[in-house]
């Protein structure tokens, strides 16, 4: 991989990082709602959701630190939620069902 040693920040990079954050936010909101629906059951189903939540939170933290490195004055709280993370599973409610069953194994 050929690299040019430059620290130039481009709009493309910013868009990519913010999109990454927005998709993480979207998936976190979805999973938090799923966790609430499933209740406090300590079986394998909720375990996988919790594990995924932990991983997503860690990823989100990493992206936040990266965005602060990119531009410390960026208001990261203004980034909302995106749903691109659901695209590999299809569209609409079917996609959500597929995602859920893929996670919980049902």
């Amino acid at each position: 991989m050929a690299l040019t040693m430059t620290r130039t920040r481009t709009q493309t990079t910013l868009t990519k990082l913010v999109t990454l954050l927005a998709n993480l936010n979207g998936e976190l909101v979805f999973l938090a709602a799923l966790e609430r629906r499933q209740g406090a059951a300590a079986d394998a189903r909720s375990g996988s959701v919790t594990r995924r939540l932990i991983k997503l939170r860690a990823d989100r933290n990493a992206v936040l630190i990266t965005l602060r490195q990119f531009d410390p004055e960026l208001d990261v709280d203004a980034v909302g939620c995106a749903a691109d993370w659901l695209k590999p599973f299809g569209r609409g409610r079917v996609a959500a069902k597929r995602y859920e069953s893929g996670l919980t194994g049902e």
Binding site: L3, L20, A62, V63, I65, T66, Q69
Partner: protein, 205 residues
């Protein structure tokens, strides 16, 4: 009866002072070590975050390449020189500052050496004036032409340091008039006066 004056032997005085200086230098080193430990922890966390983002961007091999550069940190952080130049011009506004003075102040503020005239000129021309031109292009600063000096473009004199000042944003006549009209509209009617009788109105119309 007053206590008799005592005199400290000069060698004792010297050793005491040297000890104090060494203690001071050691405490400075301790403080710097603490700052560096905190900074290292911060950077380790940042490195872990960037490596994680590399995985998310599907280039997990990126951290293994072991890329390393020593970023230019003369001014402390990105944007520090610009912020300093802006603060200086704003503080001295509406007076102008010449680039030679700015060079001296910058070297003192950021604690770097410009030991030779060539080094000073390089900093002034390549760094300081470049930053001033950026501010000028953004409409924040302006270069003052020196009147009465016919040499060079823009009235500048060859060999003379440029004068720069913060660009004042003065309201236009139309803006002042609009402001006055708004105040007149909002102001409660005074008893015994008509609009025509209010002082200053006749001058505007």
């Amino acid at each position: 009866m007053s206590t008799p004056r005592t005199r400290t032997a000069p060698e004792v005085k010297w050793v005491a002072n040297e000890l104090a200086a060494v203690n001071g230098e050691l405490s400075r080193i301790d403080a710097e070590q603490e700052r560096l430990t905190t900074r290292k922890a911060e950077l380790d966390a940042r490195r872990a975050a960037l490596e994680q983002v590399a995985v998310m961007l599907r280039v997990p091999e990126l951290p293994k390449l072991g890329l390393s550069v020593r970023p230019h940190d003369r001014y402390g952080e990105r944007g520090a020189l610009r912020a300093w130049v802006e603060a200086l011009l704003q503080a001295t506004a509406p007076e102008a500052v010449d680039t030679r003075t700015m060079t001296d102040l910058a070297a003192e503020h950021f604690r770097f050496d410009l030991p030779t005239p060539a080094a000073r000129k390089r900093f002034m021309d390549n760094t300081l004036v470049r930053q001033l031109r950026v501010l000028r292009d953004e409409g924040l600063a302006e270069r003052i032409a020196v009147r009465g000096s016919a040499l060079g473009r823009g009235g500048s004199v060859a060999g003379q340091a440029g004068l720069w000042r913060w660009k004042a944003t003065l309201p236009t006549f139309a803006e002042l008039q609009a402001l006055r009209d708004r105040e007149v509209e909002l102001a409660p009617p005074s008893e015994g006066f008509t609009d025509v009788e209010r002082p200053g109105d006749a001058a505007w119309r």
